[in-house]
Amino acid sequence: MTMEEKVISIIMEQLDVAREECVPEASFTDDLGADSLDLVELIMEMEETFDVQIADNELERIRTIKDVLEYLQGKGVVWHE
């Protein structure tokens, strides 16, 4: 599983959305029905899975699936399962 696939599988599980909704540009709040608490939980799950700490002031930059992937890549996270 690639990192993108892992991120998408977490999003599908946490937000109860279908695979085809999870396009790179999909916004968590506008397209995937997340509220502020869902976002917190989602970020916690990302931190746990990819062993990173995402500071609260970095959260504002993370609005879409693409943002998550870019953030993780920027942190040098390498993932394969």
């Binding site: 946490q14 937000l15 109860d16 029905g33 608490l37 917190v40 939980e41 916690m44």
Partner: protein
């Protein structure tokens, strides 16, 4: 002038079944909902039995995302309320949510969530706590979720009154409809406290049964061999409606709620005073509220927990209030079958009173095999009995000395 208040919908999830119909059928057949605890490992626990729900499919009521946001007590309230509202039919026209309210009491709220999240924090630090912890644990969120889902924008509340919570919920809602603050109320009680802390806590108080080898016989109210209550989980909710409103929309009417009493012992945090004086005053208050004489009550659904103390004290209080009539009226404890649903007990037992009146069947007290000489009323032992019932009283008493009593009546236009 006060509004008459009728019951137009009912919903329940109990250890006897995931609907009112299944629960009532279980009660009439004298079935037990008690079994070994499956929710956690009971190896180290003195009590290993409880009344758990069986086979409830959460996804029938919430989606997977919602499921993660709610404690089971909230899920049970959503399920029972949805059933009650479907049963009642279209209570309000579109855009009139302000005339519909919700009061669902709970003794302990999201205890399971608190326990689970505490473990997460101890293991991984405070940042490991789910952002849904607080909204899943707050007791009033059962009513909150039901309000969101039904669009009820009127009065909302959550009496936290230990084992009287459900009765207080229905009683408070009764007063609101009676006084005209709402046309209809979704009202009842809920708890989902088959958890390690709850079982250990009640064990520490020496209040729950340890009859682990015979779970179905563990809840035995008024029996000489009773050794405490059995913790159960579930929810009971009814739709209360002003008579005028129910008639105007042609609703089916199950029965009428005519009286509510609510008193405090002002005595002790867990023990009743001599003669269960607070309970006596409460039954009298409900009768007075209903404008009825004691002799008019046909059936009492007792608090009847199966603790040594409650059953003898409640019997004494009933005798004091009803005098000679206590020899002719029927008293039973459906907790012998359902176990003690804590804050949901009043919700379920109110429903069973309404069913008893509507069906003309006295629910039994099962497991009453060795009558206690101190408990000498007609408890409808072992088997249900057919009898015309015009009026039924539901008793619930909780820790803290809270007493709550409702009186239901056959509906006559």
């Amino acid at each position: 002038m006060k509004n008459r208040v009728v019951i137009t919908g009912m919903g329940a999830v109990t250890p006897l079944g995931n609907s009112v119909a299944e629960t009532w059928a279980g009660v009439c057949a004298g079935k037990s909902g008690i079994g070994p605890i499956t929710k956690f490992d009971t190896t180290l626990f003195e009590t290993k039995i409880a009344g758990e729900l069986k086979g409830l499919d959460p996804l029938q009521y919430v989606n997977r995302k919602e499921l993660r946001r709610v404690d089971e007590f909230i899920l049970y309230a959503i399920a029972a309320s949805e059933m009650a509202m479907a049963d009642a039919g279209p209570v309000l026209g579109a855009g009139n949510g302000e005339r519909l309210g919700v009061i669902i009491g709970s003794a302990i709220g999201g205890l399971a969530t608190i326990e689970k999240e505490k473990e997460a924090v101890l293991a991984g630090g405070p940042r490991k706590m789910s952002p849904f912890t607080i909204p899943a644990a707050l007791a009033n969120l059962a009513a909150g979720h039901v309000s969101i889902r039904t669009g009820a924008k009127g009065p909302i509340g959550c009496p936290v009154a230990a084992c009287a919570s459900g009765t207080c919920g229905i009683g408070d809602a009764f007063r609101l409809v009676s006084e005209g603050y709402a046309d209809a109320m979704i009202a009842g009680g809920v708890d989902a406290a088959v958890t390690p802390m709850s079982v250990a806590g009640f064990n520490a108080m020496r209040t729950i049964s340890k009859r682990n080898d015979e779970p179905e016989k563990a809840s035995r109210p008024f029996d000489r061999q009773r050794d405490g209550f059995v913790i159960s989980e579930g929810c009971g909710v009814m739709v209360l409606e002003s008579l005028a409103h129910a008639l105007a929309r042609g609703a089916r009417i199950y029965g009428e709620l005519v009286g509510y009493g609510n008193t405090s012992d002002a005595f002790h945090m867990a023990a009743p005073p001599d003669g269960h004086e607070g309970a006596q005053r409460c039954m009298r208050a409900a009768l007075q509220n209903a404008g009825m004489d004691a002799a008019e009550i046909d059936y009492i659904n007792a608090h009847g927990t199966s603790t040594v103390m409650n059953d003898a004290f409640e019997t004494e209080a009933i005798k004091a209030v009803f005098g000679e009539h206590s020899r002719t009226l029927a008293v039973s404890s459906t907790k012998s079958m359902t176990g003690h649903l804590l804050g949901a007990a009043g919700g379920i037992e109110a429903i069973l009173c309404v069913q008893a009146i509507a069906e003309g069947i006295l629910p039994p007290t099962t497991n009453l095999e060795h009558p206690d000489p101190e408990c000498d009323l007609d408890y409808v032992p072992l088997h249900a009995r057919k009898r015309e019932i015009r009026t039924a009283m539901s008793n619930t008493f909780g820790f803290g000395g809270v007493n709550a009593v409702l009186i239901f009546k056959k509906f006559e236009g």
